[in-house]
């Protein structure tokens, strides 16, 4: 009984089929359902102590899976937007494949982190970090108050510093 992973193993074994079904339903197809079910359990593993006191394991799994599902849709939508954007790059810009891969990876990471911000906060933060606008310029561009711009900037830094990987 001392094995701390035992409750998780039990959770996996009991609910694996159900979780695969859940993913099949959400994705509309079964191609990756078991992969996503695995990812869900991997995420559960990050907080092993929570599992031991679980009252409603399926509700817990659903919450975690829903987070993964949102990530999945966002990755997809970025992928589409990215492909469209690079298709529109004029040929004279001469973007090398290596450069594009680097840009795409950075975008994926940034997008994942910025997803935790409200749309307006995200816009403010991106305008500051990518276009290098001052807060006064951002306030003028967005019609937000100086205070709000600062608040959104603080949120942006907090979220990114918390989630940044590597």
């Amino acid at each position: 009984m001392s094995n701390p992973l035992q409750p998780i193993q039990l959770l996996c074994e009991t609910h694996y089929e159900w979780l695969c079904q859940w993913w099949r339903r959400q994705l509309g197809h079964g191609d990756e359902a078991s992969d996503f079910a695995h990812d869900t359990f991997l995420r559960v593993l990050r907080n092993p102590e929570e599992v031991r006191t679980l009252r409603q394991p399926r509700a817990y799994l659903t919450t975690i899976a829903r987070g993964l599902l949102n990530d999945h849709w966002r990755r997809r939508s970025l992928e589409r937007a990215w492909l469209q954007a690079i298709a529109e790059i004029p040929p004279e810009m001469e973007a090398s494949p290596e450069m594009l891969v680097g840009v795409q990876q950075a975008l994926q990471q940034l997008d994942r982190m910025l997803a935790n911000l409200a749309p307006q906060a995200r816009e403010v933060f991106v305008l500051s970090q990518l276009e290098g606008l001052t807060y006064v310029e951002i306030a003028a561009r967005t019609g937000l108050s100086d205070r709000t711009v600062k608040r959104y900037m603080a949120q942006g830094f907090e979220v990114c510093l918390t989630l940044l990987e590597h």
Partner: protein, 326 residues
């Protein structure tokens, strides 16, 4: 992922760091601010770590050209979710229809055939003709030396006739009339209710229709669609968007609903054919439109996808009473 390096930093340190960064990025920070920040940073290893993380964040932003990154990172999530749906739909389109729940293949027995709500059957008749039964459909098959007859009692069938060695005619009979296949593919639907009628859509070649109350036969060609009662042909009142492109079998034969800029209430009326109970939406959202290919094998999932796409909620009183609302 470098686990050791991305160990959680104290939330309080992160908040302090964020406050400093806001100041430094404001466009108003002077030398005194930078000096004060340097002192803060040198105060503890965790502060230094937070600063290094901020540096990496800057590197990531620097890797992205603004002209590309601003529109991508600030894209409208709702629009993009819909785009994602389309991608998914495109994949669903290619998948075999056999994924549809209850979809079964039968070899050609004569007699009665029936599908339940949400079910579909693929029937291969003795002469090689194919009949697909849509949801909630009942029919009889009678083959004799003189004719091949499918009697449609309710629901909807897709028919692809095979050339018969004995040159027997192929008929579909409904209470409103008799349809003779002239080497063809077509769809027949029996619409019940007060104004019982038959709806015919010809996909290939021609179909001749004789009304139950008599009169001479009328011939309909590929791409044409008609409704008729036992006594009369009705003016086609199908909205342009609902008409089937010539030659293409309707979505349900592949286990999907195909919506092209379809009104939500129209889509839900269609969905309700495939599940028991009531599916409706609030009048205020009935006119919202959407496009996509929706799989029929799980209508709960279908409704969730639709709701998600339009930013609506699925209100489930019981599984027999579902409403989509804001």
């Amino acid at each position: 992922m470098a686990v050791a390096e991305s160990k959680p930093l104290d939330a309080a340190i992160i908040r302090e760091a964020a406050r400093w960064l806001v100041r430094l990025h404001s466009g108003e920070a002077g030398p005194a601010d930078h000096a004060a920040f340097e002192r803060w940073r040198a105060g503890s290893p965790d502060r230094e770590l937070a600063w290094q993380r901020a540096q990496r964040l800057t590197q990531q932003f620097n890797a992205v050209p603004a002209a590309l990154g601003v529109p991508l990172l600030t894209r409208e999530p709702r629009v993009s979710r819909r785009t994602a749906l389309r991608t998914l739909a495109a994949m669903g389109f290619a998948a075999p229809a056999a994924a549809w729940l209850g979809y079964r293949f039968h070899y050609g027995q004569e007699g009665a055939h029936r599908t339940a709500v949400g079910e579909s059957h693929d029937l291969m008749l003795a002469d090689g003709s194919q009949v697909l039964l849509n949801t909630d459909t009942g029919m009889d098959v009678r083959y004799s030396d003189a004719a091949r007859v499918v009697q449609l009692r309710s629901g909807e069938v897709y028919v692809r006739t095979a050339a018969d060695k004995a040159v027997r005619p192929f008929y579909v009979e409904t209470p409103q009339g008799r349809l003779q296949a002239l080497g063809t593919r077509f769809v027949v639907r029996q619409l019940d209710g007060r104004d019982a009628m038959t709806e015919l859509t010809v996909l290939e070649h021609r179909v001749a229709v004789t009304l139950a109350n008599g009169g001479s036969a009328r011939i309909f060609n590929a791409g044409e669609s008609v409704r008729f009662t036992a006594g009369a042909f009705l003016q086609s009142d199908l909205p342009a968007g609902a008409r089937q492109p010539s030659g293409v079998a309707p979505g349900w034969t592949r286990g999907v609903i195909e919506a092209d800029n379809m009104r939500l209430d129209t889509l839900l009326a269609e969905v309700s054919r495939y599940r028991r109970g009531v599916v409706r939406c609030d009048p205020e959202v009935a006119g919202l439109r959407l496009s996509g290919v929706f799989r029929l094998h799980d209508t709960d999932a279908l409704l969730a996808v639709v709701a998600n796409t339009l930013d609506l909620r699925v209100v489930t009183r019981t599984s027999y009473w579902v409403t989509l609302a804001r």
